[in-house]
C-alpha cells in the first residue's frame, strides 16, 4: 500500500478537482468538503512517505504505466522532496480551511471553480516536487501557472492587469525551461533525470549542455522572481484575493527554488555546477542584489501586502545565495529556509487575510489600534514578525543562522552583510507596524467609534480563521526548536557527498 | 524532404511571423497568425511529423484564430505601434 503513495498524493487532489468542477454545476455545497478531504488524504500520504523515507533511508520510486526508467515517467521521492511535499500539502490544507468564510463572501457562485483551481494548483506543485522526468515537470509547471493566473486574476480591480503581466513573464520562464530541456534532449537523447545524470558527466565540455544549463536557470529565475526579472511578483501577489494570495505566495517561489536545487544536484551534477562551470560566485552576487533590492523597496511600501511581496523577493535571494555558496552549511541553510520561509509567509498572509476581512483595507493604517481590538491575531503577528526578523526561539533565526555560517565558511562576507542588512530592515518594517498597531488609538478616523473610549469591544476574526492561524504561528516555534533534528535527520541526507 | 521546398516554407514562416508582429491592425494580425500556423503545419508535414501537423492545423490555425478574432471583437482593432 505504501509504495502507491507517490501516485495517490497527486491523483487524489486531481480527481477531487475534476469532481468538484463537475459537481459545482449541480449543487455547490459539496465542493468545499470534498476539497478539504482530498487535501487531508494528500497531506496524510505525504507525512507517511516522509516517515518511511527517513526511517528506511531509501528514496521511494514509482513507475507510471508500469514502464521503467527512461522509457516511461518515474517519480522519485527522496528526503528533501518528501519534506517539501509535506510543507506544500500542509500549507494548502491550512489555508483552504482558514479561508472558508472569505471564499463564501467574495466568490459567490464561483466558489466551486475556485476550490477546483485551488486543488489543481496544489496537485501541480506536488507533481513538480515529486517528478523524475524533465518534460513532465514542464507540463506540471504549466498547470500550476495557469491555475495561478486564474486565481490571481479574480481579485481587486487591478488584478487582471497584474495577472496578465504575470502570464507574460511566466510564459517566458516556462518556455525557456522547455528550450533547456530540448537542449538536454538533443545532446543526451533522454528526458529521465536519473538517466540524464549518468550521461551528462560524459559531455562536460559540450556547449549544448552549457546552454541547457543557462536556459534552465534563466527559466527558473524568471519563475522565482530573482532580481532582474521580478517585475511580476509585487503586483500579482498584492492584487490577488486573500485566499489565493495565502496559497500562491508561500508556495510558488519556494517550490521553484526546490526545483533549482534538484536540477543542479541531481541532473547537472555538483561537479558540473561548481567545479566545471564555477557559476557559484556570480549567482551569489545576483542573490545579494536580490536581497538588497527586496529589502530596500519593502521600506518604501505603504500597503502591507505589497511590503510582504518585496520581503518574499528578498527571501528568494537568501535561498539562492545560500545554495550557490557551495558548502554544506549554506545548502542546508537554504533547504531549511524553504520550509521555514513557507510557514512564515503563510502566517503573514493569513494576518493580511484577517485584517482585510475585519478592516476591509490592507493599507498600513488599517492596523491602527489592533492590539486592543484583536489581541490574539496581533500575538500571532508578533511571532511571525520575530521569525522573519530572525529572533532565536522562532524558526526564522535557525535557517538564517545556517546561512550566515555557510557565508562565513565560504568566505563570502558580502553575503553575510546582505543577510544582516536584510534582517535589520525587516526589524524596521515590522516595528513600524507594531508602533501603528499598538500606540495609535483605534478608530480615530473610523466614523462611529469614539476614540479611546475605555475597553473597545474585542472584534476578533471569526473562529475558523483564527484557530488555524494561531496553530501556524505556534508551529513557527515548534519548527524553531526542532530545526536541529530536521537538519540532521532529513537535510544532511539530501546534500550529495561531494560537498564539504 | 526536398530541401528547396523546406527553405521556401521556412522563409514564408519567418515572413508571416514578422508581418504578424508589425502590422498595425489587430484583426489582420490574427489572420497573419493563422497564416503563420498554416505555414508551420506545412513544415511539420514536410518534415514527417504528421500528428503534429494535424494538431497544428486544427488548433493553431483554426481555434486560435477564432479566439483572437473573438477577443478583438470585444476590444479594439486599433494599435499604436
Amino acid at each position: 500500500m505504501l509504495n502507491t503513495f507517490p501516485a495517490i498524493i497527486i491523483v487524489v487532489p486531481l480527481l477531487a478537482a475534476l469532481l468538484i468542477a463537475g459537481i459545482s454545476f449541480i449543487d455547490r455545497r459539496a465542493c468545499f468538503p470534498i476539497g478539504v478531504a482530498a487535501l487531508l488524504i494528500s497531506f496524510a500520504g505525504a507525512v507517511a512517505m516522509l516517515v518511511n523515507v527517513v526511517s528506511t533511508g531509501v528514496a521511494m520510486e514509482y513507475r507510471f504505466g508500469g514502464w521503467a526508467g527512461p522509457m516511461g515517467i518515474v517519480y522519485v521521492i527522496d528526503h528533501l522532496s518528501a519534506l517539501v511535499l509535506v510543507v506544500i500539502t500542509g500549507i494548502a490544507l491550512v489555508n483552504l480551511v482558514s479561508s472558508r468564510q472569505t471564499i463564501i463572501d467574495e466568490l459567490k457562485e464561483k466558489d466551486g471553480a475556485f476550490v477546483a483551481l485551488y486543488l489543481l494548483f496544489t496537485a501541480g506543485l506536488v507533481g513538480m516536487t515529486a517528478t523524475g522526468d524533465a518534460f513532465n515537470l514542464y507540463v506540471l509547471l504549466e498547470i500550476t501557472s495557469l491555475s495561478g493566473y486564474a486565481l490571481i486574476g479574480l481579485g481587486s480591480e487591478r488584478a487582471p492587469l497584474a495577472s496578465l503581466k504575470y502570464l507574460f513573464l511566466g510564459t517566458i520562464g516556462a518556455t525557456f525551461y522547455l528550450v533547456g530541456v530540448g537542449y538536454l534532449y538533443i545532446a543526451t537523447g533522454s528526458l529521465n533525470m536519473v538517466d540524464l545524470a549518468t550521461i551528462i558527466p560524459g559531455l562536460m565540455d559540450s556547449g549544448v549542455i552549457l546552454f541547457a544549463f543557462i536556459f534552465c536557470m534563466t527559466g527558473l529565475f524568471v519563475k522565482m522572481a530573482m532580481f532582474p526579472v521580478h517585475g511580476w511578483l509585487p503586483g500579482a501577489y498584492s492584487e490577488a484575493s486573500s485566499p489565493a494570495a495565502g496559497l500562491i505566495a508561500p508556495l510558488t517561489t519556494k517550490v521553484m527554488i526546490y526545483i533549482l536545487i534538484r536540477i543542479c544536484l541531481s541532473v547537472f551534477s555538483v561537479e558540473y555546477v561548481f567545479a566545471n562551470l564555477d557559476v557559484g560566485q556570480i549567482m551569489v552576487w545576483l542573490a545579494i542584489a536580490t536581497i538588497v533590492f527586496g529589502s530596500v523597496s519593502a521600506l518604501a511600501q505603504t500597503n502591507y501586502r505589497r511590503m510582504l511581496t518585496y520581503i518574499i523577493i528578498a527571501e528568494v535571494g537568501y535561498m539562492v545565495g545560500g545554495f550557490f555558496l557551495g558548502n554544506k552549511m549554506g545548502m542546508s541553510g537554504a533547504m531549511l529556509h524553504i520550509v521555514n520561509d513557507a510557514v512564515m509567509t503563510l502566517c503573514l498572509f493569513m494576518v493580511a487575510g484577517i485584517v482585510v476581512n475585519r478592516m476591509k483595507t490592507d493599507d498600513r493604517d488599517g492596523f491602527k489600534g489592533l492590539f486592543r481590538s484583536m489581541p490574539f491575531t496581533m500575538a500571532g503577528f508578533v511571532l511571525a514578525a520575530l521569525s522573519i526578523i530572525g529572533v532565536p526561539p522562532t524558526c526564522g533565526f535557525f535557517s538564517k543562522w545556517y546561512l550566515i555560517l555557510g557565508g562565513v565558511a565560504a568566505g563570502n562576507y558580502w553575503f553575510v552583510a546582505a543577510l544582516i542588512f536584510s534582517s535589520l530592515v525587516n526589524a524596521v518594517l515590522f516595528f513600524r507596524l507594531f508602533e501603528i498597531a499598538y500606540f495609535e488609538p483605534f478608530g480615530d478616523d473610523h466614523h462611529g467609534e469614539s476614540p479611546g473610549a475605555g475597553a473597545v469591544g474585542i472584534k476578533e476574526a471569526p473562529m475558523i480563521m483564527l484557530l488555524p492561524f494561531l496553530a501556524v504561528s505556534f508551529l513557527l516555534i515548534v519548527l524553531g526548536v526542532y530545526s536541529g533534528r530536521i537538519v540532521t535527520n532529513i537535510i544532511y541526507f539530501a546534500i550529495p557527498g561531494g560537498i564539504i | 524532404m526536398i530541401w528547396q521546398l523546406d527553405l521556401i516554407i521556412l522563409v514564408l514562416v519567418i515572413v508571416c511571423a514578422i508581418a504578424a508582429i508589425n502590422v498595425k491592425d489587430l484583426l489582420s494580425a490574427a489572420i497573419l497568425l493563422s497564416a503563420y500556423s498554416f505555414m508551420l503545419c506545412l513544415l511539420w508535414a514536410v518534415m514527417g511529423a504528421v500528428d503534429v501537423a494535424f494538431t497544428e492545423a486544427t488548433v493553431g490555425a483554426g481555434v486560435s484564430t477564432v479566439f483572437c478574432v473573438a477577443a478583438v471583437f470585444h476590444t479594439t482593432r486599433r494599435t499604436k505601434d
Binding site: 515517467i73 493566473y149 | 524532404m1 500528428d51
Partner: protein, 275 residues
C-alpha cells in the same frame, strides 16, 4: 524601452546562432536523440501495445501520465476562462426585440421579464446581422460531416495520424462553426454551459479514472495491462483498448473545453450575444 528590447534580442539571437554549430547536424540518424531512447519505442511499440501509430502509442501508453496532465492543462484553461470571465446571470441591462410582422425593433432598457415564446417578437443581438441564407445552408450541410470526420479521426487514432486531441478540436470547431454561422444564442440552446462544464470534467475523469482503476486492480497507475481481467483479453490487447478509452475521454474533454472557452470569450462572460 524599445531600444533596450532590440539590443537584448539581437544579443541573445547572436549568442544562440553561434552555438548552432554545436548541434548534431540536421537529419543524421546517429544523433543522440535518435539513438538513445527512441529505438526502443520504434521496435517495441507494436509488440507492447499493438498500436502501429508510434505517436499514439507513446502519447497514451509509455508517457500516458504526461498526456493525462496535458488534458488537465486544457481543462484548467477552460475552468480559468469560466472563472475569470463569467458574469453573474442576472445582469440584463439592454435587450433588443424585433416585431416579426412589421420589422419594428424595440430597445428595452433593464426590462423585467419579457414573455420568451411569443410568436410576435423575436430577440436579436445588439450587432444583429440579417441571416445570410448561403452561410446558414452550407454550414447546416457541413457540420454533420465535420463531426463524422472527427469521429473517424478518433476511431483511427491507432492506425493513422490523429487521436483524442485532434478529434476533440475538430468536434469543438464544428460547434463553434455553428455558433459563428448562426448566432451564439442558438448554439447555447443546443449545448448549454452546464453540459459543457460537466462534460469537460467528465472527459478528464475518464482518463484519470481509468488510471485509478488500474491502481485499484493492483498494478501501477495508468498501467492498462491491469484491465486485461476486466476486458477479457490478453495484456497487449488490453493496452490497446485502454489507449482507445483514454482517447475517447480526451476527445470529450477537449471538445467541451474549446466550446466553453469560445462561449466565454465571444460573449465576454454574458453568454447572450456573441461574435
Amino acid at each position: 524601452m524599445k531600444i533596450l528590447g532590440r539590443v537584448t534580442v539581437i544579443l541573445c539571437g547572436l549568442l544562440l546562432l553561434v552555438y548552432v554549430g554545436e548541434f548534431p547536424d540536421f537529419a543524421d540518424p546517429q544523433s543522440p536523440a535518435s539513438t538513445h531512447v527512441s529505438p526502443y519505442y520504434i521496435q517495441n511499440a507494436l509488440e507492447d501495445t499493438a498500436v502501429p501509430n508510434l505517436v499514439t502509442a507513446i502519447l497514451a501508453d509509455y508517457r500516458g501520465y504526461d498526456t493525462m496532465f496535458e488534458a488537465t492543462v486544457i481543462f484548467t484553461a477552460g475552468l480559468a476562462c469560466f472563472f475569470l470571465m463569467r458574469l453573474p446571470k442576472k445582469e440584463e441591462r439592454v435587450v433588443f426585440y424585433r416585431h416579426r410582422a412589421t420589422g419594428v425593433t424595440l430597445r428595452i432598457d433593464d426590462c423585467g421579464a419579457v414573455p420568451k415564446d411569443t410568436q410576435a417578437f423575436h430577440r436579436i443581438d445588439s450587432q444583429w446581422v440579417p441571416r445570410d441564407l448561403i452561410i446558414r445552408s452550407t454550414t447546416r450541410l457541413l457540420i454533420p460531416f465535420v463531426q463524422i470526420y472527427a469521429l473517424y479521426v478518433l476511431a483511427h487514432g491507432h492506425h493513422s495520424p490523429g487521436g483524442g486531441f485532434q478529434a476533440g478540436v475538430v468536434l469543438g470547431a464544428s460547434i463553434i462553426l455553428l455558433a459563428i454561422s448562426q448566432d451564439l444564442r442558438s448554439a447555447i440552446s443546443k449545448i448549454k454551459e452546464k453540459t459543457l462544464g460537466i462534460l469537460s470534467s467528465l472527459g478528464v475523469l475518464i482518463y484519470a479514472g481509468t488510471g485509478f482503476l488500474c491502481l485499484l486492480l493492483g498494478e501501477s497507475f495508468l498501467d492498462y495491462g491491469a484491465l486485461a481481467s476486466l476486458l477479457g483479453t490478453d495484456r497487449v490487447m488490453a493496452r490497446s483498448h485502454g489507449i482507445l478509452i483514454v482517447e475517447v475521454g480526451v476527445a470529450m474533454a477537449v471538445m467541451s473545453v474549446l466550446i466553453w472557452i469560445y462561449y466565454n470569450l465571444s460573449s465576454a462572460g454574458k453568454q447572450d450575444e456573441g461574435l
